[in-house]
């Protein structure tokens, strides 16, 4: 699905990601964990095209996409639920979702996807005409994920979907991530500070430290690794 080969990304003089490689198999959930400032969000931005890479390559279905602008990558099958949710605050929930379908012009298909999303997040049905900015954090997260799903991506990027949410909502979101992956076979990259959650959900995980991959492996293996337990699970 996706192959990232040795990318580096910098903000001016500050290098945020260095020589990072990772692959995401079709239908896999891949987690990216690491502490604050490790470069997780920057990696997501490079994959979706919001941040240019200074070197390295990104292959989507075997085709290089580093030069493709962000607005066209969604048409290639990638969608992002960004860090901090970033819903359009002064637009209704429904309008937020419809903007997510901007690249999908088939109205019948749009309605079908919308129904699917309302199925995952029934709470959004009753909130559909409410301004997204006035929703609770958990509800905004549902809008952000729903908005990304409206593009019918084959690869979904989720940047800290659990950030600032109550444990019960985190569980709900986690359950839905698994469901989406299972039902549609959608590949997912999950960025999380909540390492336990991320490692439990994923097939494959990458641990990022100061912009580089420090460790990678199966989620279950990393959960058992002493290093990860000490550094990220606080055990």
């Amino acid at each position: 699905m996706l192959e990232v080969r040795g990318i580096s990304v910098a903000y001016g003089a500050l290098s945020a990601v260095r020589n990072l490689s990772m692959t995401v198999a079709d239908g896999a959930i891949v987690s990216l964990i690491g502490s604050n400032g490790a470069g997780k969000t920057t990696t997501m931005k490079a994959i979706i095209g919001l941040k240019a890479v200074s070197s390295g390559e990104i292959y989507l279905d075997g085709e290089r996409v580093e030069g493709v602008p962000a607005s066209q990558r969604v048409g290639r099958g990638i969608a992002l639920s960004p860090e901090g949710r970033r819903v359009f605050p002064q637009m209704s929930v429904l309008d937020n979702l419809l903007v997510g379908a901007y690249s999908q012009r088939d109205a019948a298909q749009q309605r079908k996807t919308l129904d699917q999303i309302y199925g995952y997040f029934p709470r959004l049905v009753e909130r559909r005409s409410q301004m997204a900015g006035s929703l609770s954090g958990g509800e905004q997260q549902m809008v952000a994920i729903g908005r990304a799903l409206m593009a019918r991506p084959r690869l979904l990027l989720l940047d800290e979907p659990s950030l600032g949410l109550a444990p019960i909502i985190v569980d709900e979101i986690a359950r839905i991530i698994v469901e989406i992956n299972r039902d549609i076979g959608m590949s997912i990259i999950l960025v999380e500070q909540n390492a336990k959650l991320a490692l439990n959900l994923c097939n494959e995980a990458f641990v990022l430290e100061t912009g580089a991959v420090a460790l990678s492996g199966k989620g279950k293996e990393l959960l058992a690794s002493d290093y990860v337990r000490r550094a990220y699970l606080g055990i």
């Binding site: 919001l50 607005s71 969604v74 970033r86 359009f88 309008d95 903007v99 901007y102």
Partner: protein, 291 residues
Amino acid sequence: MSMDFILAQTVVNGLMVGMIYVLMAIGFTMVFGIMRIVNFAHGEFYMIGAFLFAILYGSNGMPFAVSVLLAIGATALLGLLMERVVFRRFRGNELNGMIASVGVALILQNSALLLWGSSARTVPPVVSGVLSVGGIVFPWSRLVVIIGAIVAVVSLNLLIGHTRIGRAMRAVAQDSEIAQVQGIRVDVIFPAAFVLGVSLAAFAGVLMAPVLSVSPFIGLAPTLKAFVIVVIGGLGSVPGAVVGGLLIGLIESFAGTFVSASLSEILQFLVVIGVVLLRPQGLLGRKEREA
């Protein structure tokens, strides 16, 4: 003249001028909302729309509908050119963008002066006669302006509120980075919004041309009014622009008829100062979101 008559005319004049201000303010606030540019050249597009209509319809006797479409279309093209050459470089740079827009205003105004001279032109009325309601008469020439402006505002509202491109414009105004990852090309949305704003100004000019006389200097007042109205109504708020525009139009008309034009200016700015002091986000504006 009876009091009823005077009152009715004052209301109609206030609504007419007010609706023109509404059109101007909506375009002005749209360009600001999306491009973050305070466009002090906005009224020059009104002036050019009015001039082109005066030339096509008034001097050359072209059919009304053709004149309207050509006047708006040509002004929109000029707007597109200005966006390409000037405004897109200042997108998001509020101070420099504002200064550049003053430059553009001077260039457009002086070009009009060179091309068309300084003398005022009048345009023959598009409609004549009066509407008589319970003994009070309203001139159709003014009602048409009000109706035309209402149609434009309603259409614009439908466009922004209920179409794919309208949603895209709102998305770009609220978070342009995230709009991009939805597949929205901001490099298309920016000029589209600018041209839409300019077209509204041109349409306002076309509507007013038969009621006012047209000269290269008529653009400044509507620019300042649009600015004032946007401050009163709330930056980026279309309902705010409607309320603010009608308020300013009616104040102007009533104070002008019953007291004096200078009192009207004083009153308007008192309203502005009052709003800025008591409700800085404008009557219908939202508070700046916390970062």
